[in-house]
Amino acid sequence: MRSVRALAATAALSLLAFSTIAFAGGPKQGGILRMYHRDSPGNASIHEGATYSLNVPFMPVFNNLVIYKQDEAQNRMDNILPELAESWAWAGDNKTLTFKLRQGVKWHDGKPFTSADVKCTFDMLMGKAQQKFRQNPRKTWYEQVNDISTNGDFEVSFNLKRPQPSLLALLASGYTPVYPCHVSPGDMRTHPIGTGPFKFVEFKANESIKLTRNTDYWREGRPYLDGIEFTIIPNRSTAILAFVAGKFDMTFPTEVSIPLLKDVKSQAPNAVCVVEPNNVATNIIVNSSAPPFDNIDIRRAMALALDRKAFISIMFEGQGDVGGTLLPPPNGLWGMPKEMLETIPGYGPDVNANREQAKKLMQKAGYGPDKHLAVKISTRNIPVYRDPAVILIDQLKSIYIDGELDVVETANWFPKIARKDYMLGLNLTGNAVDDPDQSFYENYSCGSERNYTNYCNKEIEKLFDGQSQETDIAKRKKLVWDIDKKLQEDVARPIIFHARTGTCWQPYVKGVTVMSNSSYNGYRYEDVWMDK
């Protein structure tokens, strides 16, 4: 009898040990992911905002037609996966993109998802629907889309004016969720309804955002988490201390600066921290429609005076990237290679030689040691803007330019820039998608609302269209490099650096992937789980 009991006990222990080992490797269901949020987003509607403060908490509520693979850091065309679509196909000389839609998907309020919802969403984005968004910051993304047509409840086609292969990349962004037809844009701002892995529970402004698991989610076995809770903590010191004390499982993504990262690692040595580029370029906007910067020599001198490595070393302890308009490789897909970059004036490694050239250009324009050029450098009153502006002022001193910092409150920044009430401005440009179409058309095309400098070059505009239609990636890359080089040589909007930032989480949080060429697309959180 004793031996039977012993055998049973051994068997039970073995089973327990086996199940523990088996389970230890795989994802576990359950748990609430606690994260702090850096600020209170104005509303809950991703389509009406242009900040990742919206994407992080609300992207888990939605699905797109297609999505960048959430467990790969780099967003690429070849890692775009179907989501609400089951498949897609290009047809008609690459002017029609047709999606077969997933069947049996339900909105969080129980209504069925159909092609009408897709048409509604994109008609609203193109400004063609009866219902309007209060704000529509990405309307320009769909300028090449003629219309959206449906074929039954589960097929939808995007009919384009001309081929635009990058449309798929734009549709895969965290900024492109599909909205339900039966919910008004106003209601989507306060109580979003999606088809995503998590349902919206509540949003208390300045306090918290709560999401709960969607038990009817179409992807079987997902999400792993029971919910996600965001506590809004605008004070960064408090937020980091709370993470160190274990009150949160994760920091707000890409919100830990390099110096702060050291503090986190010293106080919470077990925390997992990742530093990645966030595809936000710090740049100079130049008012070239008024003196003195209507003089190309002065603009070129300014570009030559930049010591980009000094910016990166002071602000990021060396962890940043020098590049052109597009994020440089290896993280960026379209940035110029180093050898090409260094041929552009101001990018060469010998800063002193660059500055000597700059001084000559300044002297040619009538300035010198006895006659300095006084300029106001305007920027937003936010540290990430102000700090590089101060370094810029210091660097421009070396070429007879005396800069004075003009800090502008956020509310007045865009109106001031729009009415061209500035000489030089220090600006940040975030790219939601690592694709030239998004960057070129938004920031450099004639008449674009976000082309703050009014840079307009019809020749380059043609090149924009040329690269946009090119389906061969290698050929397109070459075209893009040439355009980027030209933009830097024209001093259209000199790029100073591309920042890198950190994200940390507790060691028991698994399945987190921080995207390395965009900070807008990686927050579905359906693969995240907790090994607790």
Binding site: G42, N43, T51, N206, S208, N235, L241, A411, W413
Partner: protein, 315 residues
Amino acid sequence: MFAYLVRRLFLMLVTLFGISVVIFFLLRIVPGNIVDILFAAAGYVDPADKANLEKELGIDRPLIVQYWHWISGFLRGDFGYSYVSEKPALQEILPRIPITARLAGLALLFSASIGIPLGVISAVKQGTRLDYALRVVSLSGLSLPSFWLGLLILTAAVAMFGQIPIFNPNPKTWLEAFATYAVPAAAVGFRSAALTMRITRSSMLEVLRQDYIRTARAKGASDAAVNYHHALKNAILPVITVIGIEAAFLIGGLIVTETVFNIPGVARFLVEAIRWRDYPIVQNLVMFIAVVVVFANFTVDMLYAVFDPRIRYTD
């Protein structure tokens, strides 16, 4: 007394009307409105979208019309909607008031219960080591900014106990609920306690030199009876005045304390609302604070008469 009360109440109404005008127009002088901020956040300006939104929110109408719309609504109990959350302003403001009220009340309690006794001790023990030590403490209280003190407390708590005493919205026990407010209240009340202590000390020193105190001692009254019954009773008036003023100024200290300890009270909410130029929230909240301050001053005036029978309010 009745006529005085009526006059004071009338003056209060005039003051509140003046405040409403000042709040309304000051807010419009600040550059930018909610629409500018929304478009700044979206990184673009579309004049047509902007005009539509301004029309929708009613901020395209003449200022006088906007003022009348607000103040008439305020008097009817219609506080409008938050421009940002699109929820009724009252629904946004009301749940935050008890949080800040608890915090402010505890801070004032901390200030009075620490400041007054220590002030008395410091005055009674004038020139001793204890007096010097207490004066150093009070000077530090006046010199340390509350946000810095708050951060210091948080850092020390994390380093020493591995815990962070920030706001807990769902405390499980009474003790947890108390701790949620006690630490920030101490941080913000420290400065106030220091001021109360200094005022109590100087007021006590003045009273302790009076003839009637000497008489009381000569009659054999105990130290405690002399200090607390005879001296403090007469020295308390300036202290009450200071506490009354501090109650009004507390909102300034609470803004940083609520931010550092992440407390979702009205003070932090007000700053956020100003940042967004959320006029319905700011106007109604500042009016609410103004009403509290005006009533606090009124109460202090009434308390004078209670504590000093020589004071009589006549016509």
